[in-house]
């Protein structure tokens, strides 16, 4: 198992925001996190990224507790794309992607060919190479999301954590981004709000409700009409798509 978590709990005050969550993602697979707003997806991702210390339980990378790995060593193998990361600063696309090389450089070492190649490859991978000198504030939401992904790729990670990366993107860019994530062959945990997209692009799904795991498994095994009603509070019918073979949710009104 590349990423796994055992009985993770995290609370603020008396409220349990992540409540006894265990999961495991095999190398190169994509785990989708689903759940209504406020169900704890972002909090769980922050725990997996080592940004918060769990009240109990642990996060393991290839069997090692991440608390024992060290922040910089962790940043060299795991990258996070946050939900609403923006800046007031007047940065260029290239500067943002360059940030991804920080964990690979000591404070005094220079910029190497390896660094340069990683940045170019990452920009190229997300289709932003032609816009490397654009200003952050001149980018559309979709372009910013791709730049964040490029920054994460410049970290040369083996594990990738993504928090609702397709928010604010039009459908073409949503599909392109998810397809790209699938092709990267990195161990990925991605929070998504579109259940059909999750079913299409993820190998495994984990459904959270009020911080607890309510279902976990392959999309075709866990997506059900009862789940849609109990967790997402909508009436829906689910069938297997004749076009791509994955489950497809039809919402009823």
């Amino acid at each position: 198992m590349s990423i796994s978590a055992q009985n993770l709990c995290w609370s603020v005050g008396k409220i349990n925001i992540v409540n006894d969550v265990s999961l495991s993602v095999p190398p190169g697979k994509v785990l989708g996190l689903l759940g209504p707003n406020g169900s704890g997806k972002s909090s769980l991702l922050r725990l997996l990224a080592g940004l918060r210390r769990p009240a109990s339980g642990q996060v393991l990378l290839e069997g090692r507790d991440i608390q024992a790995i060290g922040r910089r060593a962790l940043a060299r193998r795991m990258a996070l794309v946050e939900q609403h990361a923006t800046t007031e600063a007047n940065v260029r696309v290239r500067d943002v992607v360059t940030l991804g090389r920080i964990p690979h450089r000591s404070p005094l070492s220079g910029w190497t060919v390896v660094d340069e190649e990683a940045v170019i490859a990452a920009l190229d991978r997300v289709g932003m190479w032609g816009r490397a000198d654009r200003n952050w504030h001149s980018l559309s939401g979709g372009e910013r999301q791709r730049v964040h992904l490029a920054r994460a790729l410049a970290q040369s990670p083996r594990e990738l954590l993504l928090d609702e990366p397709t928010n604010h993107l039009d459908i073409q860019h949503q599909i392109a981004l998810l397809k790209l994530v699938g092709e990267l062959a990195l161990t990925t945990v991605v929070a998504l709000h579109d259940i059909n997209h999750a079913a299409m692009f993820c190998d495994q799904l984990l459904v959270l409700d009020a911080g607890k795991v309510v279902a976990q498994g392959a999309p075709e095994d866990i997506l059900s009409e009862t789940l849609m009603r109990d967790v997402f509070r909508v009436e829906a019918r689910i069938d297997s798509s004749p076009h791509h073979g994955r489950p497809h949710v039809h919402y009823l009104i």
Partner: protein
């Protein structure tokens, strides 16, 4: 994709830029040494300096040599160091707190240092520059601790830290006024008033040595953390996920900026606006990368302060304006131009 060539060009351009900047700074310092009530030609200035360094033995009027060496040169050099130091502090605080308004003045650190120093002046505890500096230090660190505690060590988010700073400014300014009105006589009140707005009047070589060391150490520490400062652009979690020890970096850099501010304020009073306007101007020229931004702040801050000092000495005959008045009067229009020209880029 001719990247290597492009890098080389960028580096050459940058080298040229810093060489030019350094040259302008030198010229500004020379001008600061030559211009004043007694105008001294630039050749005399250089001759006086080389004489003192033992390189030449040109015959000069002793009075001119003394004015240059004992008074104006040290003053111009201190002004350059103070401008550089305040600009570094502003750039670092703005990055760290992700707020374009952050600077020692806004965060109350200058106000705290002023209270400490004014306390020493008015209450007359101890005597001389040493106790004045000690008072300013104590005040700066009191304000720093106050802000740090109110904002949970800066973890409360950028706007919380700024609000804590505003509270600290109010508190310490009130304390300063309290001390002055209850304990000071009219003359002391005037002295304090003048000192609060900043003055390079009393500085000589010992002050230069101190401020040079402090600003140089501050610059080196901040440069060491230049990449960490870049990483703060997208917030604490983004920086932490890039492997930056966020808490440590914040504490070290806040401590360093408090130290630089305390030293400068204890020496020349609290001079506003330099820490705010210079980093923005510098960012406008070299962008957000701190490895370039901080040296640019040093050069630009130095030039700005030396020129402001010249203006403060020559604008009114027979009278010296407080330096803080000049920095604000020159700084605000400059800032307006920057804002106006940058409005498209936010």
């Amino acid at each position: 994709m001719s990247t290597p060539a492009r890098k080389t060009w960028e580096q050459a351009g940058l080298g040229l830029f810093f060489a030019l900047g350094g040259l302008v700074l030198l010229v500004a310092i020379a001008a600061g040494t030559g211009i004043g009530e007694m105008p001294i030609p630039i050749e005399t200035t250089f001759a006086a300096v080389t004489n003192r360094l033992g390189w030449t033995a040109i015959d000069l009027p002793p009075i001119q040599e003394s004015v240059i060496w004992d008074y104006r040169l040290s003053r111009a050099l201190v002004a350059a160091c103070c401008g550089a130091g305040l600009a570094i502090c502003g750039a670092v605080l703005q990055a760290l707190l992700r707020n374009p308004l952050a600077e020692p003045y806004v965060l109350g650190i200058s106000a705290g240092a002023s209270t400490g120093a004014v306390g020493i002046i008015v209450l007359g505890v101890g005597a001389g520059t040493i106790s004045l500096s000690a008072g300013a230090f104590a005040g700066a660190f009191a304000a720093f601790t106050f802000v740090a505690m109110l904002s949970n060590g800066g973890r409360g988010g950028p706007s919380k830290t700024i609000l804590a700073g505003v509270a600290a400014s109010q508190l310490f300014n009130a304390l300063t006024s309290y001390i002055v009105t209850t304990s000071g006589n009219a003359q002391q009140a005037r002295d304090v008033m003048f000192w609060l707005l900043g003055s390079f009047g009393g500085v000589r070589w010992p002050e230069f040595q101190l401020v040079l060391v402090v600003v140089a150490v501050g610059l080196l520490v901040c440069l060491y953390y230049a990449r960490a400062l870049d990483a703060f652009a997208f917030g604490d979690d983004a920086a932490a996920s890039l492997g930056i020890p966020v808490g440590t970096v914040r504490l070290v850099l806040l401590g360093i900026t408090a130290m630089m501010t305390a030293t400068i304020v204890s020496m020349v009073g609290s001079i506003g606006f330099v820490g705010l306007v210079v980093p923005h101007a510098a960012r406008f020229i070299v962008g957000h990368n701190h490895a370039r931004l901080l040296p640019t702040c040093v050069v630009a801050g130095g030039i700005f302060m030396v020129l402001a000092d010249i203006v403060s000495r020559v604008i009114l005959p027979q009278q010296i304006l407080p330096i803080g008045v000049v920095t604000a009067l020159v700084g605000v229009p400059a800032f307006s131009i920057i804002l106006y020209r940058a409005k498209g880029a936010a």
